[in-house]
Amino acid sequence: MKAFRFVRPSNGREAADLLASTKNALVHAGGVDLLDRMKERVDEPDVLVSLCDAKGLDQIRVEEDGGIWIGARVTLAQLADEATCRRFLPTLSEAAGLAASPQLRHRATVGGNLAQHTRCGYYRHASFPCLKRGGDSCPVRAEGGVQDTAGIFGNRDCASAHPSSLAPVFGSLDAEIVVRDAKGERLVPFAGFWANPAKGRASDTRLRPGEVIEGVRIPPRDTKQFVGYAEIRQKKAFDWALVSCAVRYETDGEKVTSASVWFGSLAPVPMRSVAAEEALVGTVCSDKSAAEAGARTMASATPLAGSKYKVALGKVALKRALAAARERA
């Protein structure tokens, strides 16, 4: 790891100012993802602007309009354990409680979870070629590539799979990302937060240098929501989900009137399935409609030889997320 300077602003605004005025600086939160990258010298920042002392960013609160604000420095353990989150955002709480391992959950933050870089083994070690790190092509896609964690959508250039299992939940809840830079704060709709991979583009988000995530806002709802989450993981702890899926829908008392379906670990960025949503609307939510929604989602999948099994897993995750939503109601 290259030596770096460690600065600890006391709030989000100061952090944004520091980022604006410092060359080659990166935001540091829990460091779970960032320090690994730095040890491998995939990233070599001169300065870390740490949020560890930033006030207020470690809170979850219900806002006046009933929306919920989650600070960027809230840990996964907090999401899993705190009453507000458990009560109002059960799927988020559930996803957070299953992620990583108990130790990691106490360190890992929401902001870092959304901004974490891909876990692709090629990306994370400098001796491998990698399109995202500026190489000409993606070795995972090439003959001989190890593909078992690869994505099955949007993988024409880069076959990575977005590792966050909180992201699909945030997506399904129409979360907005609260982003701050030296000029002020802005709200970014969840779907607009992500950037598809490109040559030399390491980050999967549209965050620009100098910007910091202050928090995530979940808008209020006045109608009954059905929410469900499901994931499939090979190992119970210290591992990522192979596939995760979060759903939210409303009904007219019987049939689905609107639906939101998001997947994690299937594409380089969190993936919404409009095909699944369309398939669900107008049906009575059941395993049968879930199967149809899964089939329609997967109709456009482009799995690699080694990641074919994720097609089946994606369908099962969707079926189980929908079943969980029905059960919770």
Binding site: R119, H125, F128, A142, G144, G145, V146, D148, Q234, K235
Partner: protein, 755 residues
């Protein structure tokens, strides 16, 4: 004069399981040399042996007070690190170390420019620096130019005709077959004539040792010309070899090697490695203490691995379940060595009148394999035990019954019964595999294990002796250079010494892991405990003799008239003295005596037996397997400390499940480098995935030595993968023939079944 002793050996207790099994108890006559304690028999009454004794070093390990190599940080400590090749096969065109050398704080640099790198992890440069930060910058500043050449890094690619060869003197990467001892009868005729025959190809992955404590050492050359080396090694006695001491510039007799605590070796840490020699060179050159420990990536690349295997097997037998023939061919890679160690032990345990097993080594452009907990066994037993289940289903006979019919080991016969009872075999095992209803299907399976290590009386060419130091206050210290690699060696020594002297184990001061004491055996092959056990007893015996001599003198009686009962010595009349009282007769210098290990007897039980049963739940929609319970029944001769013994079995089972479900070195077949050399990408089973593990120890007086002990570390991991695989087969009705059994492979197998 050797004395002839006839005594009862065999399985202690477990009366019900022994019923009707011949040979679980025997009478044995042995010639016992002078100075060797009278062997313990099946009915010997013990104070501590076979009971639960907590670890002597439990508290220091739990609090962190235990010092490992990394923790030893003398003033002025310097740090060494390595630059290594990321390619399977490349010429090292140039190594530019100028920028690294120029960095302030860099003390020494080595480069190996002329080399060809024939595996990822091949060292091309090494740096020694004053701080870890400078070291990291210096390593990053070394510029290496490689000319990359084609070089197959995985077995199947290296086997292809025309593949580039690892050893330029050879035409092909495939060596063997090695036939000799694994050929008998007329296998082809038997196969053709058999009632029931099955065949299949099984595959196992390259598994890395993944020791938590990395390989390496800290070398400290002192001003007086002596040196202390703290090493993470399984053999303090062999660490400071000629190459190492020459690099250090200190003669062997002045080098002290210390391994007080060790964080895992599993067979990969038997002598000073290349990087240790570099560390020694740096220590000599800089005249400062230097530490070199591998990074995690290097651990995975070169720190050792278990060869993979491809095993084509055919098994046939009668319709009532008697095996007639096993025929097979195997291939596996032990990296860029000529193929040694790549075989699979897949023909042992059962009676096989006809056998043909041809085994091939395959050289690949990857670092050498190393001995790994039960070399050749977990892979071999996975295939052997899998094909037995296939045969049993086809013959329509219960798979456990088939095993019991073909297994002649009396102890394992008893163990099969014990295990079956504890897992609930008759209740849970499906006669028709895959017949469980629902999405989550459960299944039960079993597999056998074996090992055969009774320890030795020598350490290399030196006799194995234990030194006892007794002071006049009654304090007892036991000294030998043997290391405790986490298995509980320290505690075991204390139990044995305490048993013999009538003291408490935790009162014994066990001084080990230090070459200033008499040489100790390497911790490998599950030989450590059975080697040292008998020597500890003999040392304790010397102590009693010496103290007895003093008492006899005081009491004016003949030494031969004394008897010891626990810690009390009795004279022929009503004279008696406690151990402490006897010690009070010693002078200020106390007592220093040695007991030596004698040759093994011609034993009654030459192989240890074991078997395991597993119950799993398989999610047939996702392919995820959960192991719910494992019953592990193991014999290791006489059990000394049942806590540490159980701990060994727990560890063996955990490592075995990890092998069955998770671990796999993944290599990019074009680039030739490992893509998962970290603990978050190289999956290893963690605590949340641990099943209930029910350990049953069957203590057996083997007859090998005065203790009757045998080894346990390795056999405990032999049956696990096979038992889990058979449970999965029983659950889903189809075999997953390749380890690890990932969701992708399970789903693939289920798809095959539907077709």
């Amino acid at each position: 004069m050797p004395r002839r002793v006839t005594y009862e050996v065999g399985l202690i207790g477990h009366e019900e399981a022994k019923q009707g099994v011949e040979g679980t108890e025997q009478s044995l006559t042995v010639e016992v040399e002078d100075g060797d304690a009278t062997p313990w028999a099946r009915d010997t009454k013990f104070a501590y042996v076979g009971t639960d004794v907590t670890r002597l070093d439990g508290a220091v390990k739990a609090t962190g007070a235990a010092k490992y190599t990394y923790d030893i940080q003398p003033q002025g400590l310097c740090f060494a690190g390595l630059v290594y090749a990321p390619h399977a096969h490349a010429d090292v065109v140039s190594v530019d170390v100028a920028a690294a050398k120029a960095l302030p704080g860099v003390l020494a640099v080595r480069s190996f420019a002329a080399a060809t790198a024939t595996y990822p992890g091949k060292i091309v440069a090494a740096v020694c620096a004053e701080s870890e930060t400078v070291l990291s910058d210096a390593l990053a500043a070394v510029r290496v130019v490689y000319a990359v050449k084609p070089g197959p890094a995985v077995t199947e690619d290296a086997m292809r005709a025309g593949a580039p060869v690892v050893d330029p003197r050879r035409q092909t990467n495939v060596s063997g077959p090695r036939r000799g001892p694994t050929m008998r009868g007329k296998p082809d005729d038997a196969l053709a004539a058999a009632d029931v025959a099955v065949s299949a190809t099984y595959r196992t992955p390259v598994q890395t040792h993944s020791c938590l404590e990395p390989h390496g050492c800290m070398c400290h050359v002192h001003e007086d010309g002596t040196a202390t080396v703290w090493a993470s090694t399984q053999a303090t006695a062999f660490f400071a070899n000629g190459r190492f001491t020459r690099a250090l510039g200190v003669p062997r007799n002045k080098v002290r090697v210390i391994t007080h605590h060790m964080g895992g070796g599993f067979g990969s840490k038997f002598s000073a490695d290349e990087w240790d020699v570099l560390c020694a060179e740096f220590a000599q050159e800089t005249k400062r203490p230097v530490r070199m420990l591998l990074d995690r990536r290097m651990e995975h690349l070169v720190g050792g691995n278990r060869p993979d295997s491809i095993q084509e097997m055919a098994l046939a037998g009668t319709k009532d379940g008697i095996f007639q023939v096993l025929k097979g061919q195997t291939w596996g890679t032990s990296g860029n060595s000529s193929g040694g160690g790549a075989g699979a032990a897949n023909f042992m345990v059962y009676d096989l009148p006809n056998l043909s097993m041809t085994q091939h080594g395959v050289a690949t452009f990857s670092a050498k394999g190393r001995a790994f907990r039960a070399p050749r066994h977990p892979q071999g037993f996975f295939a052997l035990e899998s094909i037995i289940d296939a045969y049993a289903y086809k013959a329509g006979i219960d798979a456990l019954a088939v095993r019991m019919k073909n297994d002649k080991h009396p102890i394992r016969q008893a163990q099969w019964r014990i295990g079956a009872e504890r897992i609930g075999w008759t209740k849970h095992r499906h006669a028709v595999p895959g017949s469980d209803k629902g999405t989550i299907k459960r299944g039960t399976g079993c597999a056998a294990g074996r090992w055969a290590q009774a320890g030795r009386h020598m350490v290399g060419r030196s006799p194995l002796v234990f030194e006892f130091v007794v002071d006049k206050d009654g304090g007892v210290a036991v000294q030998n250079a043997v290391q405790d690699i986490g298995t509980g060696t320290r505690t075991l020594i204390a139990v044995l010494a305490a048993e013999e002297l009538g003291l408490k184990p935790h009162d014994i001061d066990v001084r080990i892991g230090d070459t200033r004491y008499p040489p100790g055996p390497g911790s490998g092959g599950s030989t450590t405990a059975p080697s040292i056990g008998a020597a500890v007893r003999n040392g304790a015996l010397r102590v009693k003799e010496s103290l007895g001599g003093l008492l006899a003198l005081q009491w004016g009686v003949d030494e031969a008239q004394l008897t010891w009962k626990g810690a009390v010595c009795h004279g022929p009349g009503d004279e008696k003295a406690t151990f402490a009282k006897a010690c009070a007769l010693l002078g200020e210098d106390g007592l220093r005596v040695r007991g030596s290990r004698r040759r093994n007897f011609d034993a009654a039980y030459r192989e240890t037996a074991g078997c395991q049963f597993a119950r799993v739940a398989v999610d047939t929609e996702t392919g995820v397997i959960e192991v719910e319970k494992v019953v592990a029944v193991h014999d290791c001769g006489v059990i000394v400390d049942s806590l540490t013994a159980r701990s060994q079995v727990n560890g063996g089972v955990i490592q075995g499940i990890s092998y069955a479900l998770f671990e796999e070195k993944r290599t990019d077949r074009s680039l030739g480098d490992m893509v998962n050399p970290t603990f978050d990408t190289y999956r290893i089973m963690g605590i949340e995935d641990c099943p209930e593990i029910d350990v049953v120890l069957t203590s057996v007086v083997s007859g090998y030595s005065n203790t009757g002990m045998m080894g346990l570390g390795e056999p405990a991991t032999v049956p696990t993968a096979g038992a889990v695989a058979n449970a999965v087969y029983n659950a889903i009705g189809v075999q997953v023939t390749e380890l690890p059994m990932t969701p992708a492979r399970v789903l693939e197998a289920l798809e095959r079944r539907q077709k």
